[in-house]
Point group: C2
Chain length 242, copies 2
């Protein structure tokens, strides 16, 4: 008698610490995990390289890359060179309102690409590292948004018509950044390969370093500090947790 | 006293007859219409050229093009060269089940791109030429799917957080192809520039002609026949309506 094949999951892998931890969690939960890396015209291509490195280190089943030129749509500091990434914002500023790094309809787009690949692979889950606690006001990281996407997937796919719609799984949605770091360290997530920064600084040979000043860097630092851990990834500027 | 500015709409323009008619309807309804042309790795690039020609002929306010490489995801005859486009299917075959030309999560993806541009432009509507009557079993052309997308837009966008989420408008959803042709002719839609074919045949100089044998050609022919009109677009093979 042979063992049943592992159920499949597609993880939206960004190169950051959250999606790397979500991928490791999906593996630990018994899924055969394939990565989807979406290049949506981010300023820095370093995060795609980080995503590929994380996928290799975790031994994911496959990695596919899809390019979407969101620069043609614009509207975000992450896809338009003429919109500055905010720096040195306070916690209160980070927590208030939708920031200029919001990419219009980004998670809707990422999830729809993940849903498409999940259909093709026969995967039961689309895993996203979305996080509603420490994030800075992105409307498309909220639980009710993700539930609405599940409904869309049931109605709008061939798999859904057969009662097998892939479901979104956002295991980190309600976690603090500190809990994500703690869990990731337990799972052996290669945090040294991850890159969270919105505006990373090129480094000679080694790729890119965290700027230490954008919202994403501040949230990441807080996570490592909260977990009492040292961040193994490259940084410029201020010290980093631990 | 100056007149109020026209409300804005983003139309997903494919180059086919349905989206061209939807764009003209949105104009007639008083919207300032901008086109979003998505290149999702279709086999034939002729439909992008058709979309640009239609946008110019209708005098749309702007045209933006976004490329998404769905070939990396696969799963469809429209994005994979090794999956054949079905030809010469009967009406019963066209009406039964989800065909190999189904692109996984396509309308979810197209609508999310339209939603992003609508947010950036401050548009009130995302117009899609989806049609649930004469189509051949695409789950993402059903009314309940589009309603679920509206819910997603309310929850997942900055505009939605401000109570101004763009809404999907699918004016042709319940129309027959014959009604679409009749309406388009009344509105002056340049059908001679549109291209509906899944597998168009290159023609010397003039671009591409309808193959006459794929599902899309058969539905288009039926529409012109039902409207008692002659199709002004180029075709190869069998006669075409009128």
């Amino acid at each position: 008698m042979s063992a049943a094949p592992a159920p499949r999951a597609v993880v939206l892998l960004s190169g950051g610490m959250d999606s790397a931890t979500a991928a490791a969690l999906a593996q630990r939960s018994g899924y055969e995990v394939s990565a989807l890396v979406v290049d949506y015209g981010q300023r820095q291509q370093a995060e795609r390289a980080a995503a590929r490195a994380v996928a290799a280190a975790l031994g994911l089943a496959s990695v596919r890359e899809v390019a979407v030129d969101l620069g043609a749509i614009g509207g975000s500091a992450l896809t338009q060179a003429d919109v500055p990434v905010p720096k040195d914002r306070s916690d209160a500023q980070i927590g208030a309102g939708v920031p200029p790094t919001y990419v219009p309809a980004r998670n809707t787009l990422l999830l729809s690409l993940g849903l498409g690949l999940a259909e093709v692979l026969g995967a039961a889950r689309v895993v996203i590292g979305a996080n509603a606690v420490d994030t800075s006001g992105y409307p498309d990281c909220r639980p009710e948004f993700l539930e609405a996407f599940d409904r869309l997937a049931e109605l709008g796919t061939r798999a859904g018509a057969a009662g097998r719609a892939p479901r979104v799984w956002a295991p980190l949605l309600t976690w603090s950044k500190a809990r994500i770091v703690t869990c990731g360290l337990e799972l052996g997530v290669p945090f040294e390969l991850t890159l969270s920064c919105y505006d990373p600084v090129p480094t000679p040979g080694a790729g890119a370093a965290h700027c230490g000043r954008c919202d994403a860097c501040r949230l990441r630092r807080r996570g490592f500090e909260g977990a009492g851990a040292s961040d193994p990834a490259p940084w410029v500027g201020p010290a980093r947790g631990g």
